[in-house]
Symmetry: C2
């Protein structure tokens, strides 16, 4: 146990310095590292394995709803990007430009995609003829680049990985349904798989995606009370299809512009996982997203130990529980520490002393609780139940934390007090005016997170100006 | 059947114009399309689904051998790239440069990765301390960019998708074993999954990857006798680790440079699939790589037809055979044509007339043969056997074609005759001198494909200069 303590000393306690704790976890669990390319990270195998799990689960959900994957080019010609002014205005401060290729200056510079609306529109414009071709439900998994000034691993880096869904539809209603369905997919994924209790709603005009008619968002709260946008789904109406001439012949045999959506989630979700669930001993991973769910650590060396660990592994793998045996040359203490730092949900210890006493030991990563079980237990039942329990408990703990950090404010003084003491989700009514939103933003950069669609009326007056309130809004400081 | 004929008319016959046939297939099967970005393609859903299948099968093979996935940055700072002269010389004519970002000129320009040796070395250099950290067996799936002048969908485009494995090892022997193992993985994948009979060997000094000590290659022959490099595996020795200072403390407690490999395959393989197996009716896909293996086409509409098609689908899916029912509003003829153009290996037709006669019809895509089966057949057994048979027959046909286009040449006149008549794989002995290789290249650009490791001695003299032969080499014109 000595080396475990030693190892965990590398992690700055969460209470001491949250930002340092966050980067220490990333380093200790080998999720990512800084690279020689300013503002870009290397996603290391432990981090990438989490992303692969996220991809596989989300991708299945997308496909169930009829979406197909494709791949658009990385580069966008300047003149194509310029066709949609709102988008250009939103992204132009953030793009990187390729100006030479093959030892020649380019005639037209190319930007590295910050997002791919333009390319999808360009494609759709050439391929959609009739309402019979609709809907087109495309998605791509790729890298994008945004020239951020301040970066932080996973949360904000110049290059990041994401998926971007882009769909076009025959009717407004169908496109709006798609927008709603996709934010639901993200919401369920966060709540059920990542075990991050999150809230969905609509962005204000100020906070919506440039070019969208409206943006639906899924918002999560980190352990330190800072909010994180966690999946967005945009309804574009016909704005892009008019700019890019995406027309089809409708059922009345008339030309009509297509109705469009886009939606995305990114490697940011790895950052959210850390900031919601992890502790001072390292990463804590939800069972459904953990690349390895169980580690078996043999303590000592005997035929009995070897055959039992192998039997367990085989049975667990057969039940689709990702399991590995740590047969490395390291000491048991080191192996425990490593499994703990890496967030493996369950550790099974198989040692001679316990075997002689007819038992094995299971250790939960989330609570670090040791559970003794009799040797003749059904290991699959036992582990399955425990994984389920861990999942439920992790969600409940995250929910409890979120609820503790969820407030109601009726005026600016209350809001300021909360933001100066311990920030979190602040429920407050809003009149709908930009200037009030702007004024609130002056308090520690607090922004509207989302408008609750069927939000309870918690006051008659706007939290800022005191005039007639229109919307129940959640506010918070964001990453 | 009328519309099928109509549809297939879009495809230029292979015998008339092979290049046109190739691009017609890509268009008709909706695999890819040109984009507004010069030299870059859009990989459409039908094409991307094939890539996803390739990824999933190869990725499993990599992981079985202990490799892990990660993600390096897209961009490489100029000064980092410049550390390895051979690599720079090889790639500098082909790279694209980012010179501004966030509305500012960059202090140091960044190139878009043409390959990632430099970034992996930079990472390894920081993370390897001791022989205990070795081997590090990393792979990444990503996009790369090479500023090609002439492009052709899948075969050569400026941006393409690939996987690049980069590994470092404690000993020369271990790294060389890795190099060999990985070319074997590619070879097996081509032969067993893509059903492309291919040949592995070593590249000559002239044709090896810049910076490698040697390159192993897997070479395939297309239907028209043009060869295609299909997977390469490079042994770097300590060249890169010296340039990038990748050192570790060895078992004798001394500092030593690590031994390195890299290996890759790309979306080119989709091009190879087309050019080996497809015909004048469209795409023909090997059963193991086909995203959908079976299409069920109901002919007419009745409860009996519906329940039978659903029963079949359910049973086939349960047996992990990817199946879909084409319930669209199109005519049966159109559905047949679409399934044929898209290369679905088996089509099952379920219609009233056949049902009344107690039978169903299965159609093989590869031979277009119709097979009548009794209604009470075990559909899973029947389809599984047929898929297996299709796979075997496709491989045998491809092998027969390759053997027909495989020649032996003993002198330049013979070589020229072959290349002027019907090119293919040419076996010929070589003295080992650059100038002979260069001379042969003057005949229609014919290049050495690979040196056969245990190649039979088919002549005493070099095919070019007539002096003492050293190597049994395969030659050919390449894509």
């Amino acid at each position: 146990m000595v080396s475990m303590e030693k190892d965990n000393k590398k992690i700055t306690p969460r209470e001491v310095d949250f930002a340092k704790w966050y980067t220490d976890i990333i380093k200790a669990a080998k999720l990512a590292d800084y690279s020689s390319v300013k503002g870009c990270i290397v996603i290391e195998p432990n981090g990438y394995a989490i992303w692969e799990k996220m991809q596989s689960i989300l991708d299945q959900e997308f496909k169930k709803l009829g979406h197909v994957n494709c791949q658009m080019p990385l580069l966008i010609p300047e003149n194509l990007l310029n066709k949609e002014k709102e988008l250009v205005n939103g992204f132009s401060p953030e793009v990187a430009w390729v100006t030479s290729g093959g030892n020649k200056e380019l005639e037209e510079k190319l930007c590295i995609r910050p997002t791919s609306e333009t390319l999808f529109c360009d494609y759709y414009q050439q391929h959609v003829k009739s309402y019979r071709d609709l809907p087109m439900l495309y998605n791509q998994w790729c890298n994008v680049l945004r020239w951020e000034k301040e970066t932080r691993p996973f949360l904000r880096s110049r290059e990041f990985l994401w998926q971007e869904g882009h769909t076009i539809h025959e009717t407004k209603q169908e496109a709006e349904e798609e927008t709603l369905n996709m934010i639901d997919v993200y919401h369920r994924f966060h709540n059920d798989v990542l075990l991050i209790p999150s809230i969905k709603g609509k962005k204000t005009e100020k906070e919506k995606f440039s070019g969208a008619e409206y943006t639906l968002t899924n918002e999560a709260l980190m352990y330190n009370g800072i909010t994180l946008q966690s999946g967005t789904s945009h309804y574009f109406g016909q704005r892009f299809s008019k700019a890019y001439n995406v027309k089809f012949t409708n059922r009345e045999n008339k030309e009509e512009y297509a109705y469009q959506t886009s939606w995305g989630t990114t490697t940011r979700m790895i950052g959210a996982l850390i900031m919601v669930h992890s502790d001072n001993y390292g990463l804590v991973l939800p069972p459904k997203i953990a690349p390895k769910q169980v580690v078996i650590v043999p303590i000592g060396n005997s035929d009995e130990i070897t055959s039992l660990t192998e039997k367990y592994k085989e049975e667990l793998e057969k039940a689709h529980i990702d399991t590995y045996i740590d047969n490395s040359n390291k000491s048991p203490g080191f192996k425990f520490a490593e499994a703990e730092v890496n967030g493996i949900p369950i550790r099974i210890e198989v040692g001679k002393r316990d075997l002689d006493a007819g038992k094995i030991v299971l250790v939960r990563r989330d609570t670090r609780e040791k559970i003794e079980e009799s040797l003749d237990i059904n290991i699959v039942d036992c582990v399955s139940k425990l994984l389920k329990q861990i999942g439920e408990d992790m969600y409940q703990r995250a929910l409890k934390r979120r609820n503790e950090l969820t407030y109601v404010a009726h005026n600016l003084t209350e809001m300021e007090n909360i933001l100066n003491t311990q920030p979190g989700f602040i429920h407050a009514m809003w009149c709908g005016k930009d200037e009030c939103e702007e004024k609130i933003k002056n308090i520690k950069g607090c922004k509207s997170r989302c408008i609750l669609e069927d939000g309870e009326k918690i006051d008659d007056k706007c939290v800022c100006c005191g005039e007639k309130a229109q919307y129940h809004v959640i506010w918070g400081i964001q990453y």
